[in-house]
Subunit: 350 residues, 2 copies
Amino acid sequence: MASMMFTDCSSSTTSLLIHLNRRSSTTLLRQSVGQLRLRTTVSGRACSLSIRSADAASDKVIDGKAVAKTIRDEITVEVSRMKESIGVVPGLAVILVGDRKDSATYVRNKKKACESVGIQSFEVRLAEDSSEEEVMKSVSGFNDDPSVHGILVQLPLPSHMDEQNILNAVSIEKDVDGFHPLNIGRLAMRGREPLFVPCTPKGCIELLHRYNVDIKGKRAVVIGRSNIVGMPAALLLQREDATVTIIHSRTKNPEEITREADIIISAVGQPNMVRGSWIKPGAVLIDVGINPVEDPDAPRGYRLVGDICYEEASKVASAITPVPGGVGPMTIAMLLSNTLTSAKRIHNFQ
Amino acid sequence: MASMMFTDCSSSTTSLLIHLNRRSSTTLLRQSVGQLRLRTTVSGRACSLSIRSADAASDKVIDGKAVAKTIRDEITVEVSRMKESIGVVPGLAVILVGDRKDSATYVRNKKKACESVGIQSFEVRLAEDSSEEEVMKSVSGFNDDPSVHGILVQLPLPSHMDEQNILNAVSIEKDVDGFHPLNIGRLAMRGREPLFVPCTPKGCIELLHRYNVDIKGKRAVVIGRSNIVGMPAALLLQREDATVTIIHSRTKNPEEITREADIIISAVGQPNMVRGSWIKPGAVLIDVGINPVEDPDAPRGYRLVGDICYEEASKVASAITPVPGGVGPMTIAMLLSNTLTSAKRIHNFQ
């Protein structure tokens, strides 16, 4: 688990009580970056925020970084084969509007990932005060450009723009993010096939597949119902014949439901919300949450933890993704995979 | 409950053992039309196939026929107001291909329902051996016809036709069935609104609303995951903040899951599959199943029962839809509602 970047600071955590559901007395732990340094234990269930790599039972770890590497290698071979066979190089275009540092980092990483597998990358950067029309013009240009097989509009867009309008303008054949309602509709419907599956939930399922986790007939719980992760993850699990329950902020006693799950995918953005006591022995846990928590000992003053309390959960589960090094690397790998798929489809290349 | 058509023949039933899930030892009861008259009791759980109306605890009955009547009355008022205000009469077009008697009956009923509320109905009947192009031509004609605000292609289509192709050809603005993947996608996505919600699941939720059943924060179980009922019903319940689980043919021990449900919507097409022991006391039950079972004492030689064993379930539940007279009448009422909504939207009439 060379990919794990956890540092040991389990004694410098704070827990803040919140009500996930105002209508029940269920209380959950939430780590608040702004209120760290004061340690509170609720019902003896405080979760230390991090672990040393050595603490993890390594045979239980679902190593997303390693799987993503394997997938990138597979894509490299395919990209090369395509180029040699028909002279076509898959292309991914990214549109970045404004000066958000995090967005710029994401775009840079995507560009680097493209380069690493031989996919051509295109980029348009527009100023924060650009008009919606200017963004639309870029989208339209990439829609018509035969060298571009996938188009990504980096979110969030500046608030004066209509995100839905812009995303809807992306050609369905190049919607490698898979967020178009037509793709989501096809994902939901039996007998229909989406052109693209959203990258993060696709990465979650890919991890289950690569680790030979049986999905059919299993009880699966998805925590969170976002359009980009929770909802499509639930649809994917259902397509694979799991019996799926979606837990969200209005769910009462979520831990009673998670305790029945053979598979949990958590994508809720609450550090360490899912405790060891929430988990059925032997369950498989996929943690999509990447939550920064303050840590003066970390080089940047913070570190990343998941939605699932790794230290507790790894003792109960049969397999678990670390944060970072779990789902994260899979998202970009799936984006590359979608771009390759798109290029193959457009050029009818098997 | 004047609408109930149940006859008393609780002693002339047969149950047939099936495995809902081959991988578990769960056994379920299924009534088979072809093998009636031989009574079998499995684990003492045989469900009598029908009840006298008088047997039902009438204060528990969710009277779909009465609610549908109220809705039709509301639609009549709105259709009339629209006609008087802007001179527009909502129009519904139905395309019927082939000679299936059941399809012809459904189309006739829809036509009658339209007439009863003042909606104009259009109909095209095509021969069984028509070409796909002929059907497409009819769809296209209605797409372009400004008097038509809703288009229905009666299913099933003859086997030589591509159902998806034809359904996809219906203009999204006139897809009153709500089956277009774009509508389903919008239904699945938070912050998006479908143009139309499929009629039967919409009718289920409307019944819950009209009977003031609290949905938010409740555990809901949908039995069946069809594109036309189960899946969209689950999406609708989730939009209303229920915690939803979908049960299907691969689900192990479904009764353990239904026992936790505050609301059950069953759309599986298995007569009396859901037994009293499957139900949490006080649960609200919506039965979409309309299953014919042989009954020599009935005028037509058969009668209709739901997926839920009404006799047992009505003793445990706080509210339950009868079959017939429950969800059935709501489906057509919602079709009329969708047609009115479409006409209002197209003509920007509030």
